[in-house]
């Protein structure tokens, strides 16, 4: 009799169970997770927690999450793909009272090939890719593509001439990054053009390197540049050299070169980090003409302050294309320019439409903003 009374009391005290438990493969992921959703218990406000229980095909049960009241969604991660699991959610009242939901339908975790939330990235990629490929094709057909003159580049010819007159070398630092960095590649293109000029004037060129692979590529490019202008005899293998992979050891060594060799011109072009001001300041004290260029936004202020000419951000790539006159680079730069026009258009037209989305009946223009959301 007592046991029956206790059972009735417990049943009366039990909270309402969560309802409509659904388990689905988490969309747009690389597998290994299932998303569980449920309708909150009618007694949600009084609950201490929800327990999410995973039930395997063989009946094994495991509590995978304990969540606070008010939560109706849980992502169960780190599970094997291809196996079916069902879920149950317990509404917990106090420490011991649990109201158990019905089991969900089985769900199987799988990896998706395509993340639908990144359609915008695909659209942008196709648009910019098409523009760049179109202009590369145009440049390859021999059509002249106009690129405006960049201030820092006018100084290159003057700087090489100055070095020749003074009988001093040109110091060219192609940044501290690896060959995979776009700024390093752009810098090596510029180095090649400068090497052609130093070869023509028989000026000395010094190229210290931090990255062993950049060193090998730089060495090869300078050698080719000397051969291209018919002066392979002037090329000195030791003019392109490896220093150290340590950032500040490299900076210390380049500082030493600056004060000992007293170059007439110093080019700091490529990717730089905290050593940028150390190099640029030391170079400034030697009285050399300094031409810098980087796409590292945080280092640009130092170059602008301490150098005579600075290629700011994309000017570095433009300079590389301008000097090299390579159809691939020119077409790519032109394509990017048109990409910028598209961006400007989107900003102006998009902003106008988005502003009117605040008007009743025109809320659908809000979709413009949502389109640029990236998950």
């Amino acid at each position: 009799m007592m046991a029956v009374v206790l059972a009735v009391l417990v049943l009366v005290a039990l909270p309402a169970a969560p309802d409509e438990v659904r388990a689905v493969d988490t969309p747009n992921d690389d597998g290994g997770s299932i998303t569980v959703m449920w309708t909150l218990s009618a007694d949600d406000a009084a609950l201490s927690a929800y327990e999410v229980v995973r039930v395997a095909e063989d009946g094994d049960e495991e509590v995978v999450a304990v969540l606070p009241a008010g939560v109706s969604r849980c992502v169960d991660e780190g599970m094997p793909d291809g196996r079916a699991f069902r879920y149950r959610v317990n509404a917990v009242l106090g420490d011991t009272l649990r109201a158990t939901s019905a089991l969900s339908e089985p769900a199987v975790s799988r990896a998706q090939w395509f993340n639908t939330r990144r359609v915008n990235v695909l659209v942008a990629l196709l648009l910019f890719g098409a523009l760049i490929l179109y202009f590369i094709g145009t440049a390859r057909k021999g059509k002249k593509l106009f690129i405006r003159r960049i201030a820092g580049l006018d100084a290159v010819e003057e700087a090489v001439g100055r070095a020749t007159e003074m009988g001093r070398p040109i110091l060219y630092v192609p940044g501290l990054a690896a060959i995979s960095q776009i700024s390093t590649i752009a810098s090596l293109n510029i180095l090649s053009e400068i090497a052609k000029k130093t070869a023509t004037y028989a000026s000395d060129l010094l190229v210290p390197n931090r990255d062993p692979i950049v060193y090998t590529v730089a060495s090869e490019m300078v050698k080719e540049a000397y051969a291209e202008v018919g002066r392979p005899d002037v090329f000195r293998k030791e003019s392109v050299f490896f220093v150290s992979e340590d950032q500040f050891a490299f900076a210390a060594a380049v500082n030493g070169i600056m004060v000992r060799e007293k170059p007439a011109t110093i080019c700091l072009i490529g990717m730089f980090w905290a050593e940028s001001l150390i190099l640029a300041e030391t170079g400034a004290t030697t009285g050399a003409i300094q031409i810098a260029g980087t796409d590292q936004i945080s280092q640009l202020p130092f170059f602008v302050t301490a150098c005579d000419y600075t290629l700011i951000g994309e000017e570095l790539y433009a300079a590389s294309a301008y000097l090299a006159r390579d159809p691939l680079l020119l077409g790519s730069l032109k394509g990017q320019d048109w990409g910028k026009l598209v961006i400007l258009l989107i900003l102006v037209v998009g902003s106008g439409l988005l502003l009117v989305s605040g008007v009743k009946g025109l809320e659908f223009f809000r979709a413009i903003y949502e389109f640029f959301s990236v998950a």
Partner: protein, 215 residues
């Protein structure tokens, strides 16, 4: 006993070494001198030796030697061969082989970087720059919204290379360069503060760890 082990038994010996090398590097402020040259050459030499050790223990051994000779994972021979191709640059007849790993690295780098760059540097920036109705909530959000919107437009125009900067384009580009310089000024101040904190760290080392004049 090994010399280095013996040295570690002398109290504070490495603090003295560190302090004297710090002063030797600082002496560059007065121009090039033998002390700086010693520190510089020591730094370069030690760093190269240290890097070789790091590469061996952190990459070469765990990623190639152990999987190949202990784990029997012959697949690692492929990246090892790709790596060896870099040395082909030193052999005239085989120098073409260096293009294989470079192509691989550049292709992989571009494949990984391009979508990420588009996402963070273009799509998110466009979304952040759009003028939204929420901006009209108060006068200060209207002002700052317009200021930043104009900044984006004029700065993008500055980096347009397909037209000569003349007339109206020049005016807009000049406004863009003002925005850029204001940004550089703020970044300069911020970064200098970080560099000063590095200097403070070195001074603390000298005054506290070495001389013991501050606590």
């Amino acid at each position: 006993m090994h010399v280095l082990e013996l040295l570690t038994t002398v109290p504070g010996i490495w603090v003295w070494v560190g302090a004297l090398l710090t002063l030797a590097i600082f002496s560059f402020l007065f121009g090039d001198n033998p002390l700086y040259k010693v520190a510089e050459h020591l730094y370069v030499g030690v760093s190269v030796g240290y890097m070789i050790t790091i590469y061996y223990w952190n990459f070469f051994k765990p990623d190639l030697i152990d999987p190949l000779f202990r784990g029997g994972q012959f697949i690692v021979i492929i990246p090892a061969l790709l790596g060896l191709c870099y040395f082909a640059i030193f052999i005239q007849k085989l120098s073409w082989a260096v293009r294989i790993p470079m192509g691989f690295v550049l292709g992989w780098g571009a494949g990984v970087a391009v979508p990420a760059m588009l996402q963070s540097y273009i799509i998110r920036q466009i979304q952040g720059s759009l003028l939204a109705p929420e901006m009209l909530a108060s006068w200060d959000t209207i002002v700052w919204g317009i200021v930043s919107f104009l900044g984006v437009i004029t700065t993008v125009v500055y980096f347009f290379f397909s037209r000569e900067q003349k007339g109206a384009l020049k005016v807009v580009a000049n406004i863009g360069i003002i925005y850029i310089m204001v940004g550089f000024g703020a970044s300069f101040g911020y970064t200098v503060m970080a560099r000063v904190s590095l200097l403070i760290g070195r001074l603390q080392f000298l005054l506290r760890d070495w001389l013991g004049v501050i606590s």
